[in-house]
Amino acid sequence: MTVFIIRRLMQAALVVLVMSFLVFSGVFLVGDPTEILVADDADQAERQAIIESLGLDKPFHIQYLRFLQKAAQGNLGESFVFNEPALQLIMDRLPATMELAVAALLISVVLGIPLGVIAGLRPEAAYSKIIMTGSILGFSLPTFWVGIMMIILFSVQLGWLPSTGRGDEIHYVLGFPTSLLTLDGWSHVLLPAVNLALFKLSAVTRLARAGTREVVHQDYVKFARAKGLTDRRVIFVHVLKNILIPVVTVLGLEFGGLVAFSVVTETIFAWPGIGKLLIDSIGLLDRPVIVAYLMIIVLLFVFLNLAVDICYSLLDPRVRLQDIKA
């Protein structure tokens, strides 16, 4: 297992390095950020001074080597726009995104599993058909459109929930800032979290339904029923436990996706997380922030994969880590 983990970590380092090069050269090719950052009426000397102060007058390889040199010391560069360390900008915003992702994950689990089990137990019932049709909508409707519709319905027409932003009061739990300890915080997070969760919710529902359909025909379920166990015990113990393994695996992997690709939801709901930061940074060609963001996301995915593989081996004794292609 130790060998496996070490091998994985070395691979992770390589992936991050390649990633940094690709992103760095990609953003370099797009263009010169000074043209966007500079005031309209700045003269040529002023423009040149900015180019020099950002180090953009150097050739690509020098810029990249300088970046690597600093990165090796844990400094991913200063944001061109904010003149603050890119890493710190991201870390400042990460809690808001985490909060949103966790809320979305909770919604997809808490709603998705029961819905899937219900649909799986009585596949022919009308309500099951409604659930499955709903899940198709969840898959296929664009997040952007759904988000706007939710704002129009729940904020503009009904006035139940705030349309944008994050709760005012921030409390610290074990060092992590969160707005979810107040009702106001939840009222703010509800719409964006549901919006972000829709896709995962549909996925979980379908997974749970498929799992249930498969499990109810297994011998041990039939045996349990034959023993005369109550429906409740059959469903909650025998069925639910067995469908959880694929669901947990998928959720673990998808959590990375929730964090990394909450861009659309954060933009619509003006949620002050890293997705919004990324979009703003791309618009302004803020190279250090874009590179740092993507490196952190790559690391996140690598570690989530690793964690899932390890959990898998713990959950299912038949799986040995050596057998998983590292």
């Binding site: 797009v30 263009g31 010169d32 950020p33 000074t34 043209e35 966007i36 950052l37 500079v38 005031a39 309209d40 009426d41 700045a42 003269d43 040529q44 000397a45 002023e46 423009r47 001074a49 900015i50 102060s53 061109f80 726009v81 904010f82 003149n83 603050e84 900008l89 400042d92 915003r93 808001a96 706007i148 704002i151 129009i152 904020s155 503009v156 009904l158 006035g159 139940w160 929930l161 705030p162 349309s163 944008t164 932003g165 994050r166 009702l183 009222s187 933009t267 619509i268 709901f269 003006a270 002050p272 997380g273 919004k276 930061l277 979009i279 703003d280 791309i282 618009g283 302004l284 060609l285």
Partner: protein, 537 residues
């Protein structure tokens, strides 16, 4: 469900309880977030607007960009090269310390020597020598006569020299941008005190009770929320989460006008949308014959061809259809009411027959091919305007391809291609006059591109005419307002009227949406300011 219902009830109850008391707090949903609270870090629209609540300036602009005394109670030119500014007596910074000429000089030093920012205020501070006469009297002198002194002073904000007791020899006086972002050094004398900045979310300010100056303090607490997405900003206004939004999208204006809970305030801006044409290359890369083959001679070098193109553009139709009526057809650099305008120039009339005649005179009876390049996320409806121009020109005999791209790609290519010269032949861009008069666009867009003088920095068509340069130079050295206005108007007449150096299309009209009962004094400089948001009477 019951949870949501309870929420709804709570919200209603809270609104009912808090009615009159909350009315003095205001939340404004703005599109753009500033990049710093440091007043000299970045000379950029959102920074200048929001930081300007906290830091006052010597002279400022009213909503129509007319000069109003702010920290300076009065000012006058003593002679051609020296200006005298008298500060208001008894002004205090938010921390209670006195505002004197020393603070002004300190602020200018920090602005002038700023290192590490993104476009500094040096273009306004350079060449000026500040001399303290007494605590409230300041003399600013220049080597050459300099008429734009008061206009330049509307840019530099004044900070307290004791904001953070530091050695003044250090870089940026030893104060980092982060000291402003967390409030340590954010001590000005403006109408609002800085409270906090939650990055990506909001900036909060509260009324400064000791404020003396030209601006209204209608609100006790002001919150700026940053909502870049257009539908979300409109929804936030409709949902009552914010009391005002800026940059109302033109496509929503018709719907909002019918909504009785919302009022709209609009006004023409100082921003003209116009076209640059390649006037420096014998062979221009995006000018071809009708089959798309390169042309030996660049027809855009001929003013008659440029005039013909201008005549092929149906400005009223673009304003009506593309801009949904929210713009004004343009014939020069600034709309009515600005200093240095030409009284002679009107928007070019739509006249395809006349244009074809001119083209034939110039030796292109059959027209030629062209490509228009423009941004698609910078100006109001920019990509649609490019498409409309493409269609109008194609219909009139100049088949035109349309290429639009995001601003982060467009501007660096439009200014400097691979060879360091502008890459495109025919581009759509816009220009807002920060100084509120005609010399700024003339100097940047139509004066000969000359890095040593700092002229023509945004002259992406490289128009060049020594007569125009001479008139601009003369105007910039003429302190007498009337004479200078005439010189600027004459320069405009030649550069646009005679030479067609650029083709003006329209002036942008900006729209702010407020909840019923409020009104915004629409500003020509496009700034969104809490002190121009007032109760409708």
């Amino acid at each position: 469900m019951s949870f949501i219902r309870r929420l709804g009830v709570t919200a209603v109850a809270m609104a009912a309880l808090a009615g009159p008391a909350m009315a003095e707090d205001i939340t404004i949903g703005v599109r753009s977030e500033p990049s710093s609270m440091d007043p000299y870090y970045h000379n950029l629209g959102p920074n200048n607007a929001i930081i300007g609540h906290v830091f006052a300036r010597l002279v400022d602009f009213d909503p129509n960009q007319q000069l109003v005394p702010s920290i300076a109670e009065s000012y006058k030119a003593l002679d051609d090269t020296t200006w005298e500014f008298k500060l208001r007596p008894g002004l205090k910074f938010h921390d209670g310390s006195d505002l004197t000429v020393d603070d002004v000089i300190y602020s200018f030093e920090r602005a002038d020597g700023y290192t590490g920012g993104n476009s500094s205020f040096r273009i306004y501070t350079k060449g000026k020598t500040l001399k303290k006469v007494d605590d409230l009297t300041l003399h600013i002198s220049t080597e050459e006569p300099y008429p734009l002194m008061p206009n330049d002073l509307t840019t530099v904000m004044i900070m307290s020299s004791e904001a953070k007791g530091t050695g003044s020899a250090d870089t940026n006086k030893g104060i980092e941008a982060s000291d402003f972002n967390d409030g340590t050094a954010t001590i000005g004398s403006g109408p609002y005190k800085f409270v906090e900045w939650k990055k990506g979310d909001r900036i909060v300010m509260e009324k400064y009770d000791g404020y003396v100056g030209p601006f209204d303090q209608t609100w006790d607490k002001v919150t700026f929320r940053f909502i870049p997405s257009e539908p979300a900003r409109v929804a936030a206004l409709l949902a009552g989460d914010v009391d005002m939004i800026d940059n109302v999208p033109t496509s929503d204006i018709a719907t909002l006008e019918k909504n009785k809970d919302v009022s709209l305030s609009d006004g023409v801006s100082n921003r003209v949308i116009y076209l640059h044409l390649d006037q420096f290359r014998e062979k221009s890369p995006f000018v071809t014959d009708k089959e798309g083959n390169p042309l030996d001679k660049n027809p855009l070098l001929d003013p008659r061809v440029r005039k013909a193109i201008s005549m092929m553009i149906n400005r009223p139709a673009i304003v009506e259809r593309v801009m949904e009526g929210v713009a004004l057809p343009a014939g020069q650099l600034l709309p009515d009411g600005f200093f240095g305008r030409s009284p002679n120039l009107k928007p070019e009339k739509y006249d395809v027959a006349g244009a074809k005649k001119l083209l034939a005179e110039a030796g292109y009876p059959d027209g030629f091919g062209l490509t228009i390049h423009g941004p698609n996320d910078r100006y109001i409806n920019d990509a649609k305007i490019c498409e409309a121009i493409g269609q109008l020109l194609s219909a009139a005999g100049i088949p035109t391809k349309v290429v639009t791209m995001p601003k982060n790609v467009f501007f660096s290519r439009a200014s400097k291609g691979a060879d360091g010269e502008p890459e495109f032949s025919f581009v759509l861009v816009g220009w807002g006059s920060g100084t509120g008069e005609a010399s700024s666009p003339l100097k940047s867009l139509l004066a000969t591109h000359d890095p040593s003088k700092g002229w023509g920095a945004s002259n992406r068509g490289r128009h060049s005419d020594p007569k125009v340069d001479a008139l601009i130079g003369q105007a910039l050295a003429t302190v007498d307002d009337e004479k200078r206005g005439k010189l600027l108007a004459e320069a405009t007449d030649i550069a646009i009227g005679q030479n067609q150096g650029i083709i003006p299309l329209h002036y942008q009209v900006n729209t702010w949406g407020t909840r019923k009962g409020l009104t915004y004094r629409a500003r020509t400089d496009e700034r969104t300011l809490a002190y121009d948001l007032v109760k409708a009477n």
